[in-house]
Protein backbone atom coordinates (compact mmCIF):
# COMPACT_ATOMS: atom_id res chain seq x y z
CA UNK A 1 0.00 0.00 0.00
CA UNK A 2 1.39 3.38 -0.96
CA UNK A 3 1.72 6.05 1.67
CA UNK A 4 -0.12 8.65 -0.37
CA UNK A 5 -3.78 8.14 -1.19
CA UNK A 6 -4.05 11.29 -3.28
CA UNK A 7 -1.26 13.18 -4.96
CA UNK A 8 -1.75 16.31 -7.08
CA UNK A 9 1.04 18.04 -9.00
CA UNK A 10 0.50 21.48 -10.53
CA UNK A 11 -3.12 20.63 -11.26
CA UNK A 12 -5.37 23.10 -13.05
CA UNK A 13 -9.02 22.15 -13.50
CA UNK A 14 -11.64 24.09 -15.41
CA UNK A 15 -15.41 24.03 -15.20
CA UNK A 16 -17.29 25.29 -18.27
CA UNK A 17 -14.05 26.64 -19.68
CA UNK A 18 -13.15 28.72 -16.62
CA UNK A 19 -10.28 27.55 -14.45
CA UNK A 20 -11.61 26.79 -10.98
CA UNK A 21 -8.49 25.41 -9.34
CA UNK A 22 -5.10 26.49 -10.61
CA UNK A 23 -1.67 25.06 -10.06
CA UNK A 24 -2.70 22.89 -7.15
CA UNK A 25 -0.02 20.70 -5.59
CA UNK A 26 -0.75 18.62 -2.52
CA UNK A 27 -0.73 15.10 -1.24
CA UNK A 28 -2.97 13.34 1.23
CA UNK A 29 -1.57 10.44 3.22
CA UNK A 30 -3.36 7.12 3.43
CA UNK A 31 -5.72 6.91 6.39
CA UNK A 32 -6.18 10.66 6.72
CA UNK A 33 -9.60 12.21 7.31
CA UNK A 34 -9.49 15.50 5.44
CA UNK A 35 -12.18 18.14 5.84
CA UNK A 36 -12.73 20.12 2.63
CA UNK A 37 -13.93 23.68 3.17
CA UNK A 38 -14.37 26.90 1.29
CA UNK A 39 -17.05 29.26 0.03
CA UNK A 40 -19.73 28.18 -2.45
CA UNK A 41 -18.37 27.79 -5.95
CA UNK A 42 -14.77 27.69 -4.75
CA UNK A 43 -14.21 24.30 -6.34
CA UNK A 44 -14.83 21.69 -3.66
CA UNK A 45 -17.09 19.61 -5.87
CA UNK A 46 -14.86 20.31 -8.87
CA UNK A 47 -11.88 18.92 -6.98
CA UNK A 48 -13.77 15.77 -5.98
CA UNK A 49 -14.97 15.25 -9.54
CA UNK A 50 -11.46 15.73 -10.89
CA UNK A 51 -10.24 13.01 -8.51
CA UNK A 52 -12.68 10.62 -10.17
CA UNK A 53 -11.62 11.55 -13.67
CA UNK A 54 -14.95 13.24 -14.45
CA UNK A 55 -13.29 16.51 -15.41
CA UNK A 56 -10.33 16.82 -17.76
CA UNK A 57 -7.22 18.45 -16.33
CA UNK A 58 -5.95 21.58 -18.04
CA UNK A 59 -2.51 20.75 -16.78
CA UNK A 60 -0.73 18.75 -14.11
CA UNK A 61 -1.15 15.23 -12.88
CA UNK A 62 -3.33 13.49 -10.30
CA UNK A 63 -2.73 10.06 -8.79
CA UNK A 64 -5.55 8.51 -6.77
CA UNK A 65 -4.67 5.33 -4.89
CA UNK A 66 -1.64 5.10 -7.16
CA UNK A 67 -3.67 5.26 -10.36
CA UNK A 68 -4.83 7.92 -12.75
CA UNK A 69 -8.26 9.39 -11.90
CA UNK A 70 -11.23 7.27 -12.88
CA UNK A 71 -9.09 4.24 -13.79
CA UNK A 72 -10.49 2.11 -10.99
CA UNK A 73 -13.57 3.21 -9.07
CA UNK A 74 -14.02 -0.06 -7.18
CA UNK A 75 -12.00 1.22 -4.22
CA UNK A 76 -13.66 4.63 -4.11
CA UNK A 77 -16.91 5.38 -2.35
CA UNK A 78 -18.59 8.56 -3.55
CA UNK A 79 -21.50 10.54 -2.22
CA UNK A 80 -22.48 13.31 -4.64
CA UNK A 81 -23.98 16.58 -3.52
CA UNK A 82 -26.94 16.84 -5.84
CA UNK A 83 -29.62 14.40 -4.93
CA UNK A 84 -32.13 13.45 -7.56
CA UNK A 85 -35.76 13.53 -6.46
CA UNK A 86 -36.69 10.67 -8.78
CA UNK A 87 -38.09 7.45 -7.39
CA UNK A 88 -40.18 8.84 -4.53
CA UNK A 89 -42.24 5.64 -4.49
CA UNK A 90 -39.21 3.37 -4.15
CA UNK A 91 -37.68 2.37 -0.83
CA UNK A 92 -34.30 3.12 0.66
CA UNK A 93 -33.32 -0.44 -0.05
CA UNK A 94 -34.21 0.00 -3.75
CA UNK A 95 -32.01 3.09 -3.89
CA UNK A 96 -28.98 1.24 -2.59
CA UNK A 97 -29.78 -1.82 -4.68
CA UNK A 98 -29.83 0.26 -7.87
CA UNK A 99 -26.18 1.10 -7.38
CA UNK A 100 -24.99 -2.50 -7.08
CA UNK A 101 -23.16 -3.16 -10.36
CA UNK A 102 -25.39 -0.44 -11.79
CA UNK A 103 -22.79 0.17 -14.46
CA UNK A 104 -23.33 -3.28 -15.99
CA UNK A 105 -25.91 -4.04 -18.66
CA UNK A 106 -28.81 -6.36 -17.95
CA UNK A 107 -31.65 -6.75 -15.51
CA UNK A 108 -31.24 -5.32 -12.00
CA UNK A 109 -30.89 -8.61 -10.10
CA UNK A 110 -29.15 -8.70 -6.74
CA UNK A 111 -26.85 -11.51 -5.71
CA UNK A 112 -26.75 -12.82 -2.17
CA UNK A 113 -23.43 -11.11 -1.65
CA UNK A 114 -24.96 -7.82 -2.86
CA UNK A 115 -27.74 -8.11 -0.28
CA UNK A 116 -25.30 -8.79 2.53
CA UNK A 117 -23.12 -5.87 1.47
CA UNK A 118 -26.11 -3.51 1.46
CA UNK A 119 -27.28 -4.71 4.88
CA UNK A 120 -23.82 -4.35 6.36
CA UNK A 121 -23.44 -0.81 5.03
CA UNK A 122 -26.88 0.15 6.37
CA UNK A 123 -26.02 -1.22 9.80
CA UNK A 124 -22.73 0.64 9.90
CA UNK A 125 -24.46 4.03 9.86
CA UNK A 126 -27.52 2.88 11.79
CA UNK A 127 -29.75 3.31 8.75
CA UNK A 128 -31.42 -0.12 8.65
CA UNK A 129 -34.74 1.41 9.68
CA UNK A 130 -34.67 3.56 6.54
CA UNK A 131 -34.39 0.62 4.15
CA UNK A 132 -38.11 -0.15 4.14
CA UNK A 133 -39.27 3.47 4.00
CA UNK A 134 -40.23 5.21 0.78
CA UNK A 135 -37.77 7.81 -0.52
CA UNK A 136 -40.53 10.38 -0.90
CA UNK A 137 -41.27 10.14 2.83
CA UNK A 138 -37.69 10.56 4.03
CA UNK A 139 -36.36 13.83 5.36
CA UNK A 140 -33.26 15.31 3.74
CA UNK A 141 -31.12 14.06 6.60
CA UNK A 142 -32.51 10.54 6.45
CA UNK A 143 -31.85 10.40 2.75
CA UNK A 144 -28.30 11.51 3.39
CA UNK A 145 -27.71 8.75 5.90
CA UNK A 146 -28.77 6.28 3.21
CA UNK A 147 -26.33 7.81 0.75
CA UNK A 148 -23.50 7.66 3.27
CA UNK A 149 -24.33 3.99 3.72
CA UNK A 150 -24.20 3.59 -0.03
CA UNK A 151 -20.78 5.18 -0.23
CA UNK A 152 -19.56 2.63 2.33
CA UNK A 153 -20.74 -0.43 0.38
CA UNK A 154 -17.89 -2.75 -0.43
CA UNK A 155 -15.53 -1.16 2.12
CA UNK A 156 -13.77 1.23 -0.26
CA UNK A 157 -10.27 2.48 0.59
CA UNK A 158 -11.10 6.07 -0.28
CA UNK A 159 -14.28 7.96 0.55
CA UNK A 160 -15.18 11.13 -1.32
CA UNK A 161 -18.12 12.74 0.46
CA UNK A 162 -19.65 15.91 -0.94
CA UNK A 163 -21.51 17.75 1.82
CA UNK A 164 -22.67 14.61 3.66
CA UNK A 165 -23.74 16.66 6.67
CA UNK A 166 -25.80 19.27 4.85
CA UNK A 167 -29.39 19.65 6.08
CA UNK A 168 -28.82 17.48 9.14
CA UNK A 169 -29.81 18.84 12.53
CA UNK A 170 -26.85 19.66 14.81
CA UNK A 171 -27.24 16.56 16.97
CA UNK A 172 -27.52 14.24 14.00
CA UNK A 173 -24.65 16.07 12.30
CA UNK A 174 -22.33 15.43 15.20
CA UNK A 175 -23.55 11.86 15.55
CA UNK A 176 -22.93 11.04 11.89
CA UNK A 177 -19.55 12.78 11.91
CA UNK A 178 -18.34 10.83 14.94
CA UNK A 179 -19.73 7.55 13.66
CA UNK A 180 -18.03 8.15 10.32
CA UNK A 181 -14.77 9.10 12.01
CA UNK A 182 -14.72 5.94 14.13
CA UNK A 183 -15.61 3.76 11.17
CA UNK A 184 -12.92 5.07 8.84
CA UNK A 185 -10.27 4.86 11.54
CA UNK A 186 -11.24 1.27 12.23
CA UNK A 187 -11.12 0.36 8.54
CA UNK A 188 -8.11 2.52 7.72
CA UNK A 189 -9.98 4.47 5.03
CA UNK A 190 -8.86 7.75 3.59
CA UNK A 191 -11.63 10.34 3.59
CA UNK A 192 -12.12 13.61 1.80
CA UNK A 193 -15.26 15.20 3.17
CA UNK A 194 -16.57 18.60 2.17
CA UNK A 195 -18.68 20.50 4.65
CA UNK A 196 -19.94 23.96 5.40
CA UNK A 197 -19.48 24.05 9.13
CA UNK A 198 -15.92 23.31 10.15
CA UNK A 199 -16.98 22.72 13.74
CA UNK A 200 -19.03 19.68 12.78
CA UNK A 201 -15.82 17.86 11.87
CA UNK A 202 -13.61 19.15 14.68
CA UNK A 203 -11.96 16.27 16.45
CA UNK A 204 -12.95 13.90 13.67
CA UNK A 205 -10.73 15.19 10.89
CA UNK A 206 -6.95 14.97 10.84
CA UNK A 207 -6.41 17.88 8.50
CA UNK A 208 -8.13 20.69 6.70
CA UNK A 209 -8.12 21.52 3.04
CA UNK A 210 -9.40 25.04 2.50
CA UNK A 211 -10.23 26.16 -1.03
CA UNK A 212 -10.72 29.77 -2.10
CA UNK A 213 -10.07 31.84 -5.21
CA UNK A 214 -8.65 28.91 -7.14
CA UNK A 215 -6.08 28.04 -4.52
CA UNK A 216 -6.03 25.55 -1.71
CA UNK A 217 -4.19 25.11 1.53
CA UNK A 218 -3.81 21.74 3.19
CA UNK A 219 -2.63 21.30 6.75
CA UNK A 220 -3.67 20.74 10.32
CA UNK A 221 -6.52 22.79 11.76
CA UNK A 222 -4.03 24.93 13.66
CA UNK A 223 -2.00 25.63 10.53
CA UNK A 224 -4.82 26.43 8.12
CA UNK A 225 -7.50 27.98 10.29
CA UNK A 226 -5.58 31.07 11.22
CA UNK A 227 -6.21 34.69 10.42
CA UNK A 228 -2.97 34.88 8.41
CA UNK A 229 -3.44 31.71 6.38
CA UNK A 230 -7.05 32.38 5.43
CA UNK A 231 -6.41 36.06 4.69
CA UNK A 232 -3.66 35.00 2.30
CA UNK A 233 -5.97 32.49 0.67
CA UNK A 234 -8.86 34.93 0.26
CA UNK A 235 -6.58 37.84 -0.60
CA UNK A 236 -8.57 39.93 1.84
CA UNK A 237 -8.54 40.35 5.57
CA UNK A 238 -10.35 37.46 7.21
CA UNK A 239 -10.47 36.94 10.92
CA UNK A 240 -10.44 33.53 12.57
CA UNK A 241 -11.50 33.36 16.19
CA UNK A 242 -11.52 30.45 18.56
CA UNK A 243 -14.13 30.43 21.30
CA UNK A 244 -13.10 29.17 24.74
CA UNK A 245 -14.88 25.90 23.97
CA UNK A 246 -12.67 25.40 20.91
CA UNK A 247 -15.20 26.37 18.21
CA UNK A 248 -13.94 28.25 15.21
CA UNK A 249 -15.52 31.37 13.80
CA UNK A 250 -14.49 32.81 10.45
CA UNK A 251 -15.52 36.32 9.50
CA UNK A 252 -14.42 38.99 7.10
CA UNK A 253 -14.12 42.17 9.13
CA UNK A 254 -13.45 44.42 6.17
CA UNK A 255 -16.98 43.93 4.86
Amino acid sequence: MQAEAICCENVTVARNGKPVLSDLSLSIATGQFVGLFGPNGAGKTTFLRALMGLLPLQQGQIRVLGQSPGADMSDIGYMPQNRSANGASLTGWDLLASGMSGNRWGLPWLSRADRLAIQEALDSVDASDLAARRLGELSGGERQRLLIAQALIGSPRLLLLDEPLASLDPVRMRDIAERLGALVKQRGMTVLCSAHDINALMGVMDSVMYVARGHARLGSVDEVMTTEALSALYGAPVEVCRTPSGRLLVSADAL
Binding site: S89, G99, G102, N103, W105, L107
Partner: protein, 265 residues
Protein backbone atom coordinates in the same frame (compact mmCIF):
# COMPACT_ATOMS: atom_id res chain seq x y z
CA UNK B 1 -66.47 -11.73 -29.75
CA UNK B 2 -63.42 -13.89 -30.39
CA UNK B 3 -65.09 -15.66 -33.30
CA UNK B 4 -64.32 -12.61 -35.43
CA UNK B 5 -60.95 -12.35 -37.10
CA UNK B 6 -60.61 -8.62 -36.54
CA UNK B 7 -61.25 -9.02 -32.82
CA UNK B 8 -58.65 -11.74 -32.49
CA UNK B 9 -56.22 -9.48 -34.32
CA UNK B 10 -57.12 -6.60 -32.03
CA UNK B 11 -56.52 -8.67 -28.89
CA UNK B 12 -53.19 -9.89 -30.24
CA UNK B 13 -52.12 -6.37 -31.21
CA UNK B 14 -53.09 -4.97 -27.79
CA UNK B 15 -51.05 -7.50 -25.89
CA UNK B 16 -48.01 -6.83 -28.06
CA UNK B 17 -48.35 -3.10 -27.54
CA UNK B 18 -49.02 -3.36 -23.81
CA UNK B 19 -46.03 -5.65 -23.22
CA UNK B 20 -43.69 -2.86 -24.26
CA UNK B 21 -45.73 0.16 -23.15
CA UNK B 22 -46.03 -1.10 -19.55
CA UNK B 23 -42.34 -1.37 -18.59
CA UNK B 24 -41.30 1.63 -20.70
CA UNK B 25 -44.03 3.64 -18.98
CA UNK B 26 -42.77 2.58 -15.55
CA UNK B 27 -39.35 4.03 -16.34
CA UNK B 28 -40.91 7.11 -17.92
CA UNK B 29 -42.79 7.87 -14.69
CA UNK B 30 -39.70 7.07 -12.61
CA UNK B 31 -37.66 9.58 -14.62
CA UNK B 32 -40.50 12.12 -14.64
CA UNK B 33 -40.36 12.26 -18.40
CA UNK B 34 -44.01 11.59 -19.12
CA UNK B 35 -44.27 14.95 -20.87
CA UNK B 36 -41.49 13.86 -23.22
CA UNK B 37 -43.46 10.70 -23.93
CA UNK B 38 -46.50 12.78 -24.73
CA UNK B 39 -44.47 14.96 -27.09
CA UNK B 40 -43.08 11.92 -28.88
CA UNK B 41 -46.63 10.83 -29.64
CA UNK B 42 -47.33 14.14 -31.33
CA UNK B 43 -44.12 13.96 -33.32
CA UNK B 44 -45.08 10.44 -34.34
CA UNK B 45 -48.37 11.87 -35.59
CA UNK B 46 -46.57 14.38 -37.80
CA UNK B 47 -44.32 11.61 -39.10
CA UNK B 48 -47.24 9.35 -39.94
CA UNK B 49 -49.19 12.15 -41.62
CA UNK B 50 -46.09 13.15 -43.59
CA UNK B 51 -45.52 9.57 -44.69
CA UNK B 52 -49.14 9.23 -45.73
CA UNK B 53 -48.84 12.42 -47.77
CA UNK B 54 -45.70 11.14 -49.47
CA UNK B 55 -47.45 7.89 -50.28
CA UNK B 56 -45.44 5.75 -47.84
CA UNK B 57 -47.00 3.47 -45.25
CA UNK B 58 -48.01 5.63 -42.23
CA UNK B 59 -46.54 3.02 -39.89
CA UNK B 60 -43.13 3.76 -41.36
CA UNK B 61 -43.47 7.46 -40.61
CA UNK B 62 -44.90 6.74 -37.18
CA UNK B 63 -41.96 4.65 -36.01
CA UNK B 64 -39.32 6.60 -37.92
CA UNK B 65 -40.34 10.00 -36.57
CA UNK B 66 -40.81 8.97 -32.95
CA UNK B 67 -37.60 6.92 -32.65
CA UNK B 68 -35.53 9.65 -34.31
CA UNK B 69 -37.17 12.32 -32.19
CA UNK B 70 -36.50 10.25 -29.07
CA UNK B 71 -32.84 10.09 -30.02
CA UNK B 72 -32.72 13.82 -30.71
CA UNK B 73 -34.36 14.60 -27.36
CA UNK B 74 -31.67 12.78 -25.44
CA UNK B 75 -28.88 14.76 -27.07
CA UNK B 76 -28.99 18.29 -25.69
CA UNK B 77 -27.44 18.97 -22.34
CA UNK B 78 -29.96 21.32 -20.83
CA UNK B 79 -31.56 21.92 -17.53
CA UNK B 80 -34.92 20.30 -16.92
CA UNK B 81 -36.81 23.59 -16.80
CA UNK B 82 -35.58 24.68 -20.20
CA UNK B 83 -36.25 21.24 -21.58
CA UNK B 84 -39.93 21.52 -20.69
CA UNK B 85 -40.30 24.60 -22.83
CA UNK B 86 -38.25 23.13 -25.67
CA UNK B 87 -40.32 19.95 -25.68
CA UNK B 88 -43.52 21.98 -25.64
CA UNK B 89 -42.38 24.00 -28.65
CA UNK B 90 -41.31 20.96 -30.64
CA UNK B 91 -44.58 19.26 -29.73
CA UNK B 92 -46.70 22.11 -31.06
CA UNK B 93 -44.57 22.45 -34.19
CA UNK B 94 -44.96 18.74 -34.89
CA UNK B 95 -48.70 18.90 -34.36
CA UNK B 96 -48.88 21.93 -36.65
CA UNK B 97 -46.95 20.10 -39.37
CA UNK B 98 -49.25 17.10 -38.95
CA UNK B 99 -52.28 19.31 -39.48
CA UNK B 100 -50.69 20.80 -42.59
CA UNK B 101 -49.91 17.34 -44.04
CA UNK B 102 -53.48 16.23 -43.45
CA UNK B 103 -54.79 19.40 -45.02
CA UNK B 104 -52.73 18.71 -48.14
CA UNK B 105 -54.17 15.21 -48.40
CA UNK B 106 -57.54 14.67 -50.01
CA UNK B 107 -58.60 11.62 -48.00
CA UNK B 108 -57.50 13.13 -44.75
CA UNK B 109 -60.48 12.52 -42.44
CA UNK B 110 -60.15 8.73 -42.12
CA UNK B 111 -56.35 8.84 -41.80
CA UNK B 112 -56.53 11.61 -39.23
CA UNK B 113 -59.12 9.80 -37.19
CA UNK B 114 -57.13 6.57 -37.15
CA UNK B 115 -53.92 8.39 -36.20
CA UNK B 116 -55.43 10.57 -33.53
CA UNK B 117 -57.76 8.10 -31.86
CA UNK B 118 -56.40 4.73 -32.89
CA UNK B 119 -57.73 2.01 -35.10
CA UNK B 120 -57.13 -1.23 -33.30
CA UNK B 121 -60.07 -2.93 -35.02
CA UNK B 122 -58.41 -2.42 -38.39
CA UNK B 123 -55.07 -4.05 -37.61
CA UNK B 124 -53.73 -6.03 -40.56
CA UNK B 125 -51.57 -9.17 -40.32
CA UNK B 126 -48.61 -7.15 -41.63
CA UNK B 127 -49.10 -4.55 -38.92
CA UNK B 128 -49.28 -7.32 -36.35
CA UNK B 129 -45.98 -8.69 -37.60
CA UNK B 130 -44.22 -5.36 -37.33
CA UNK B 131 -45.71 -4.81 -33.87
CA UNK B 132 -44.37 -8.20 -32.79
CA UNK B 133 -40.92 -7.37 -34.15
CA UNK B 134 -40.78 -3.96 -32.43
CA UNK B 135 -42.06 -5.38 -29.13
CA UNK B 136 -39.50 -8.16 -29.14
CA UNK B 137 -36.65 -5.82 -30.05
CA UNK B 138 -37.87 -3.22 -27.55
CA UNK B 139 -38.11 -5.69 -24.68
CA UNK B 140 -34.67 -7.10 -25.36
CA UNK B 141 -33.30 -3.56 -25.53
CA UNK B 142 -35.00 -2.55 -22.30
CA UNK B 143 -33.79 -5.70 -20.52
CA UNK B 144 -30.21 -4.89 -21.46
CA UNK B 145 -30.62 -1.24 -20.56
CA UNK B 146 -32.62 -1.60 -17.35
CA UNK B 147 -29.80 -1.91 -14.82
CA UNK B 148 -27.82 1.21 -15.78
CA UNK B 149 -31.07 3.03 -16.58
CA UNK B 150 -32.43 2.44 -13.08
CA UNK B 151 -29.13 3.54 -11.55
CA UNK B 152 -28.86 6.64 -13.74
CA UNK B 153 -32.49 7.56 -13.06
CA UNK B 154 -32.11 7.41 -9.29
CA UNK B 155 -28.54 8.67 -8.89
CA UNK B 156 -27.24 10.29 -12.06
CA UNK B 157 -24.06 11.74 -10.57
CA UNK B 158 -23.02 8.58 -8.81
CA UNK B 159 -23.82 6.57 -11.93
CA UNK B 160 -21.59 8.87 -13.96
CA UNK B 161 -18.78 8.44 -11.46
CA UNK B 162 -19.13 4.66 -11.63
CA UNK B 163 -18.70 4.73 -15.39
CA UNK B 164 -22.31 4.70 -16.61
CA UNK B 165 -22.61 6.71 -19.80
CA UNK B 166 -25.63 8.58 -18.53
CA UNK B 167 -26.30 10.57 -21.67
CA UNK B 168 -26.13 7.53 -23.91
CA UNK B 169 -28.38 5.51 -21.61
CA UNK B 170 -30.98 8.26 -21.52
CA UNK B 171 -30.87 8.71 -25.31
CA UNK B 172 -31.30 4.99 -25.94
CA UNK B 173 -34.17 4.97 -23.49
CA UNK B 174 -35.95 7.83 -25.26
CA UNK B 175 -35.59 5.95 -28.55
CA UNK B 176 -37.29 3.00 -26.87
CA UNK B 177 -40.00 5.38 -25.68
CA UNK B 178 -40.37 6.46 -29.30
CA UNK B 179 -40.90 2.87 -30.43
CA UNK B 180 -43.34 2.15 -27.60
CA UNK B 181 -45.21 5.37 -28.39
CA UNK B 182 -45.55 4.51 -32.05
CA UNK B 183 -46.86 1.08 -31.07
CA UNK B 184 -49.34 2.42 -28.56
CA UNK B 185 -50.58 4.94 -31.10
CA UNK B 186 -51.82 1.98 -33.15
CA UNK B 187 -54.31 1.15 -30.45
CA UNK B 188 -55.13 4.31 -28.54
CA UNK B 189 -54.20 6.89 -31.17
CA UNK B 190 -51.53 9.52 -30.57
CA UNK B 191 -53.75 11.65 -28.38
CA UNK B 192 -54.29 8.86 -25.86
CA UNK B 193 -50.89 7.17 -25.80
CA UNK B 194 -50.66 8.45 -22.25
CA UNK B 195 -53.42 6.13 -21.11
CA UNK B 196 -51.64 2.94 -22.06
CA UNK B 197 -48.08 4.03 -21.33
CA UNK B 198 -48.05 6.45 -18.43
CA UNK B 199 -51.25 5.23 -16.75
CA UNK B 200 -50.10 1.70 -15.81
CA UNK B 201 -46.60 2.92 -14.90
CA UNK B 202 -47.99 5.62 -12.62
CA UNK B 203 -50.35 3.13 -10.99
CA UNK B 204 -47.50 0.71 -10.32
CA UNK B 205 -45.47 3.52 -8.74
CA UNK B 206 -48.44 4.48 -6.60
CA UNK B 207 -48.60 0.96 -5.23
CA UNK B 208 -45.03 1.41 -3.99
CA UNK B 209 -43.61 -1.77 -5.49
CA UNK B 210 -39.90 -2.47 -5.82
CA UNK B 211 -38.48 -2.03 -9.34
CA UNK B 212 -38.87 -5.57 -10.69
CA UNK B 213 -42.37 -6.00 -9.24
CA UNK B 214 -43.27 -2.51 -10.40
CA UNK B 215 -42.16 -3.27 -13.96
CA UNK B 216 -44.07 -6.55 -13.96
CA UNK B 217 -47.25 -5.05 -12.57
CA UNK B 218 -47.12 -2.08 -14.97
CA UNK B 219 -46.92 -4.60 -17.81
CA UNK B 220 -49.80 -6.71 -16.49
CA UNK B 221 -51.90 -3.59 -15.91
CA UNK B 222 -51.26 -2.36 -19.43
CA UNK B 223 -52.34 -5.72 -20.87
CA UNK B 224 -55.41 -5.85 -18.63
CA UNK B 225 -56.45 -2.30 -19.50
CA UNK B 226 -55.97 -2.83 -23.23
CA UNK B 227 -57.96 -6.09 -23.21
CA UNK B 228 -60.56 -4.67 -20.88
CA UNK B 229 -60.98 -1.70 -23.19
CA UNK B 230 -61.46 -3.97 -26.18
CA UNK B 231 -64.03 -6.13 -24.42
CA UNK B 232 -65.97 -3.18 -23.04
CA UNK B 233 -65.95 -1.54 -26.44
CA UNK B 234 -67.38 -4.73 -27.92
CA UNK B 235 -70.24 -4.83 -25.41
CA UNK B 236 -71.03 -1.11 -25.32
CA UNK B 237 -70.12 0.03 -28.82
CA UNK B 238 -68.12 2.95 -27.38
CA UNK B 239 -64.59 3.48 -28.82
CA UNK B 240 -61.75 1.31 -27.47
CA UNK B 241 -59.58 4.34 -26.64
CA UNK B 242 -62.35 5.74 -24.46
CA UNK B 243 -62.57 2.59 -22.38
CA UNK B 244 -58.80 2.26 -22.05
CA UNK B 245 -58.65 5.85 -20.80
CA UNK B 246 -61.42 5.15 -18.28
CA UNK B 247 -59.81 1.92 -17.04
CA UNK B 248 -56.39 3.54 -16.81
CA UNK B 249 -57.75 6.37 -14.66
CA UNK B 250 -59.81 4.03 -12.48
CA UNK B 251 -56.78 1.81 -11.83
CA UNK B 252 -54.76 4.86 -10.82
CA UNK B 253 -57.44 6.09 -8.42
CA UNK B 254 -57.94 2.62 -6.99
CA UNK B 255 -54.20 2.28 -6.35
CA UNK B 256 -54.37 5.49 -4.34
CA UNK B 257 -57.18 4.04 -2.21
CA UNK B 258 -55.28 0.79 -1.68
CA UNK B 259 -52.16 2.64 -0.59
CA UNK B 260 -54.17 4.84 1.78
CA UNK B 261 -55.90 1.84 3.34
CA UNK B 262 -52.63 -0.01 3.75
CA UNK B 263 -51.16 2.90 5.66
CA UNK B 264 -54.02 3.14 8.16
CA UNK B 265 -54.58 -0.46 9.21
Amino acid sequence: MLEYDFMRMAFAASVLVALLAGPVGWFLVLRRQSFAGHALAHIAFAGAAGAALAGWPPLFGLFGASILAGGAMGMPDQKAAERDVAIGLVLSLAMGCGVLFLHLMTRSAAVANALLFGNVLGVSPQTLESLAAFTLAGLVGLAILSRPLLFASLQPELAEARGVRVRMVSTLFLMLVGAATAEAAQITGVLLVFTLMVGPGATAHRLGLSPLFGLASATLLAVAEAWGGLALSWWTDAPVSFWIAVLSTLAFLLAGRVTALRRTP
